[in-house]
């Protein structure tokens, strides 16, 4: 965290909490840094609605408020929100492995999420917005790149009343340079209740175990030497 932001007990932060491992870890990091956290999650027509329930449970467990915003996009173009496009199975020749943008990419999703978080942060006089984007996503999603977050921070500086002064709203990406296993290790140290997190892109009762997201979750836990408390699909 930038030393210029003095965090007191009453310094507020908005945390984008999707219900996955990364955003849950970002929430626990923000709390550790001393922020009073207000979470924000979205219903945007995703197949994996289960993650919204997980976000609620995570916020409750962490003693934070949570707002759930519905923003159904009337355009498609992503297998996460368009049921006509199949969610890809993970294979080593998958889109991520080939450094291609996966079909699960939702156009400008992080820009939309960050915009709402910025608006919320300004309305409640928060000093930071936390987002759990990380290096592994970097290879696939354009809105997970460091240049993108830098550009968005400039938007936060120039496009809000809070502006660039003492009241500036920072875009905090504490996981940006970490891979999944390091995030899991960090999350475990910070006390993240992994049993309340959800990763699977499909909307079943149990994780499918075969989509890109399940693959990276399993790999991450394995490499971190931590047991995933979430039951697998059968």
């Amino acid at each position: 965290m930038n030393p210029k932001t003095r965090v007191t007990q009453k310094t507020r932060a908005v945390v984008l909490l999707s219900g996955g491992i990364d955003s849950a870890t970002a929430l626990y990091i923000a709390r550790r840094k001393g922020y009073q956290c207000d979470c924000l999650t979205f219903v945007y027509g995703q197949r994996h609605f289960r993650e919204v329930q997980c976000a609620r449970a995570l916020a409750r467990k962490a003693g934070c408020s949570i707002k759930v915003l519905t923003i159904a996009l009337p355009w498609k173009g992503s297998s996460l929100i368009d049921r006509k496009i199949p969610v890809p199975r993970n294979t080593l020749s998958g889109a991520l492995a080939q450094k291609m943008i996966p079909s699960t990419y939702v156009p400008a999703r992080n820009t939309i999420f960050l915009s709402f978080a910025l608006s919320y942060a300004e309305a409640i006089d928060a000093r930071a917005v936390f987002i759990g984007a990380h290096a592994q996503d970097y290879s696939g999603y354009p809105d997970c790149r460091i240049e993108f977050f830098r550009a968005f921070e400039k938007v936060a500086c120039t496009g809000t009343k809070a502006g660039a002064g003492q009241k500036r709203i920072r875009i905090e990406t504490p996981l940006l340079h970490l891979n999944k296993s390091r995030i899991i290790s960090m999350g475990r140290r910070a006390g993240v209740p992994f049993e309340l997190t959800w990763s699977c892109y499909r909307g079943g009762t149990y994780p499918c175990g075969s989509c890109e997201s399940c693959y990276y979750r399993a790999k991450g836990f394995r490499e971190a030497g931590v047991k995933d408390p979430l039951k697998r699909g059968r």
Copy 2:
């Protein structure tokens, strides 16, 4: 317009159409430049819902599609969406005249609108997003400043699949350096049906004639030497 973008009959643009004079003029400018326009408007809890009806009528008249998105913000902090805060009457000592941010400022509103427009543009393979922000707003709203739009264009470059190449999505602000009377003159030349536009911040049947927005509309028409075809309140 930047000469790098070659506009053909099939080049698409997303136009943020609020139903006011500025966005209507931006729409007619985009059409003149040869873009096939898809409009986007928002229901965000504003008092002046009438502008949404005007946006629909304007799009219909211009032969363009329009999508209406509902994004009720669960936080307040602006007299445009919070009915407990009065809409200020215009006086020469008003917020705009004092270079203060008016109470009608909605936190990060343009950031949210542009984010959706960017997502829509990427989904339909459009090359530009048009927004009718202008110099007069510049003095009051932080998200109408040139630095803000520059920063957002960087977000559009870095945060989308379209990226920075030939498929780059430009943020077009054709009115940024104009005042209301010049916009009205330009709009008249472009054939904007001003009788279908709405400016008043209050939600009545007729414009109130006393809010900041009515004041600048009347001043703009007067200075442009054009008769406002919209009936005033009585």
